[in-house]
Amino acid sequence: MVKREKGLLLLLLSVIVVFFIALFLGRYPETGFMNPKILFTDPLARKLVFNLRLPRLLTSLLLGMTLAGSGMVFQMIFSNPLVEPGFLGVSQGAAFGAAFAIIFLNSSIWIIQGSAAFFAISGLGLSYLIAKKVHFGGWIIRLILSGIAVSAIYSSGIGMMKYAADPMSQLPEITFWMLGGLWSITWREFWVVFPISTSAMTIIYLLRWRLNILSLEDETAFSLGISPGRFRLIFLISATIATAALISVSGIINWVGLIVPHISRRLFRSDTTLSLPAAMLLGGVFTIFCDTVARISFAGEIPLGIITSMIGAGFFIILLLNKNIKVQK
């Protein structure tokens, strides 16, 4: 047990190290590592690091922590290691809400956030409700199927809005939702997202041990003195709001919420006392890594969602081949 707690500390240190390395990696003044000394002599470098890279990295850290943490919450609550917010209509709902606010409500950033949160929660609710009504297959299949359906509805909604969008200013923004990226993050976006996602994730962090109990049968959780319905709601809404907040500035980012909790459980076991914060830290490292790749691999930026999908799916295949997902059915 002490060994695993040490592991968590190590993870925290790696987050900090990776963060600072990424802060000085880029394409200015050349591609590669920037000597921190030039911060004192070059005002452009200073502005670059403090006004562009720093908020971007902080947001990317938040993004990874939130997606991974929410992914863990979803997986525990639905007792299903194969769900993530993206599968249950949350990501698409958030993107739809954000796009909707941009086109029709001519959006302040707060309205975009609100709209994203609203549709994200609706997405989750719809997936859940439909899954309850379906009479086919086990709970897991039902949930995934209805999640796919709800996601698809929101996706096509986004597609339809593409037609209404101004192709020059609004449309590229919408395409960006679908692929995800952090290239337009400034301090403004960070300070809007930070309080929302941090408070939600803090709630989840403080309550994290209860998540174990929620992964049991409802009647068992009940017998242990928990109101499973109430706690589920608290967890799901917190996770969804936090995710929606991030997605509304970063676009849809898949796979982080699915794969990072797996890796965390492999390393730290399933007890969420450790595995939840571990997932959050791992998520942070993962996203910072992917975002740095997206940022500096080529002259042009690659959408972040593409990198997370590639690497995330890669990890997933490795895990599958290892035959150790440990799902007992």
């Binding site: 925290l12 449309l171 830290l281 002259a299």
Partner: protein, 354 residues
């Protein structure tokens, strides 16, 4: 416990941020208000200009009408629409400049160390906002309508410190526009004209019509034609139409463009296809491709004035009989871009296929 480490991190970083991005007072030498409503303040005439982003060709074609452009531009965007980069011809020093793809991030742009970045207006909320964070002034050009060209030229005149040249350009465009409009005003009958953009995406061929606000539609009206597709596109961008709809309209004249393909090949294949044979426009040999040198003449690129005159002559040949298209083209490139006859023959005429 772990949460507190992050709090500590933020507490350290926050004051540094405040200090680092302190606002400096600039002595304003040039003050320009662009068409997005923002005011750009510069200390001196910019000597390191970077232009970048989508529609870089349209931006470049406006910039390089000023003789100073070549010596002041340091970062160049992608101006290739399929037929080459016109800017290679315009800027003899092109190979020494830093090339920037459409999708670059602000860091890449920062490498060019510009004192002014010029982009099309639609980049304002995205790339433009990021660049502004670096304290680099950004100027947004509109260049979408004849009216905006006037404003944009005035702005560029200030930027290059050459208001006289700006006046010349404004006057040129106004004169040419008036030339067409004076003749068109006397016209009674406006033939039904269809303008289509042919695109092939994933092997699927499609015909698209522009919305009412775009310059393609306005050009048809200014050239004395009746743009009969206007009600069919209430949106803000290209809208697909079916062959059936085209047949239903049965326009008298059809003008076609194809940015990513050889438009002449497209015209040929249409002429061969059986479905189009019955259309009026084909029977009267009134299906024409817009001229293309480096760029098609229908876009809001500087060549729109050429496109307008050419189109007017096509729609009302009797009114513009004295207009020599080749002459006007040569004149355009000579007066506006300082091309020599040799350059005209080699770069422009060959691409036009005349």
């Amino acid at each position: 416990m772990k949460k507190y480490s992050f709090l500590v991190l933020f507490i350290i970083i926050f004051p540094v941020v405040i200090i680092a991005s302190g606002n400096k007072e600039i002595n304003t030498f040039i003050e320009v208000e662009d068409t997005t409503g923002q005011i750009v303040k510069l200390e001196k005439i910019p000597e390191r200009i970077t232009f970048v982003g989508k529609a870089s060709n349209i931006v470049a074609d406006a910039l390089y009408m000023f003789p100073e452009a070549g010596s002041r531009v340091v970062g160049v965007g992608n101006t290739n629409q399929r037929n080459g980069d016109f800017i290679e011809v315009l800027d003899p020093d092109y190979s020494n400049k830093i090339y920037l793809e459409h999708s670059v991030g602000p860091e890449q742009i920062a490498v060019t160390n510009p004192d002014l970045v010029i982009m099309k207006n639609f980049h304002k909320n995205g790339l433009g906002a990021s660049i502004s964070q670096l304290g680099i002034p950004v100027l947004y050009l509109n260049l979408e309508t004849p009216e905006s060209y006037v404003k944009d030229f005035e702005m560029l005149g200030k930027i290059f410190g050459n208001p006289r040249r700006a006046e010349e350009l404004i006057q040129y465009y106004r004169e040419q526009q008036d030339y067409v409009s004076m003749k068109i005003n006397k016209v009674n009958a406006n033939p039904d004209v269809l303008f289509i953009y042919h695109s092939t995406r994933d092997g699927v061929s499609a015909f698209n019509i522009p919305p009412e606000s775009w310059i393609q539609t306005r050009m048809v009206t200014m050239a004395g034609g009746n743009p009969l597709w206007v009600d069919a596109n209430p949106g803000n961008g290209w809208s697909k139409i079916s062959l059936e709809q085209i047949a239903a309209w049965n326009p008298e004249q059809i003008y076609i463009v194809a940015y990513k393909e050889d438009v002449l090949e497209v015209v040929e294949s249409i002429k061969q296809s059986s479905e189009w044979q019955e259309l009026r426009a084909l029977k009267n040999d009134k299906l024409k491709a817009f001229p293309v040198d480096f760029y098609s003449w229908d876009q809001s690129d500087s060549r729109w004035i050429l496109g307008l005159k050419w189109l007017a002559k096509q729609i009302h040949p009797d009114l513009f009989s004295e207009l020599n298209v080749e002459e006007m083209t040569k004149e355009f490139f000579r007066d506006l871009y300082f091309l020599t006859d040799e350059q005209y023959e080699k770069e422009i005429k060959t691409r036009l296929g005349w």
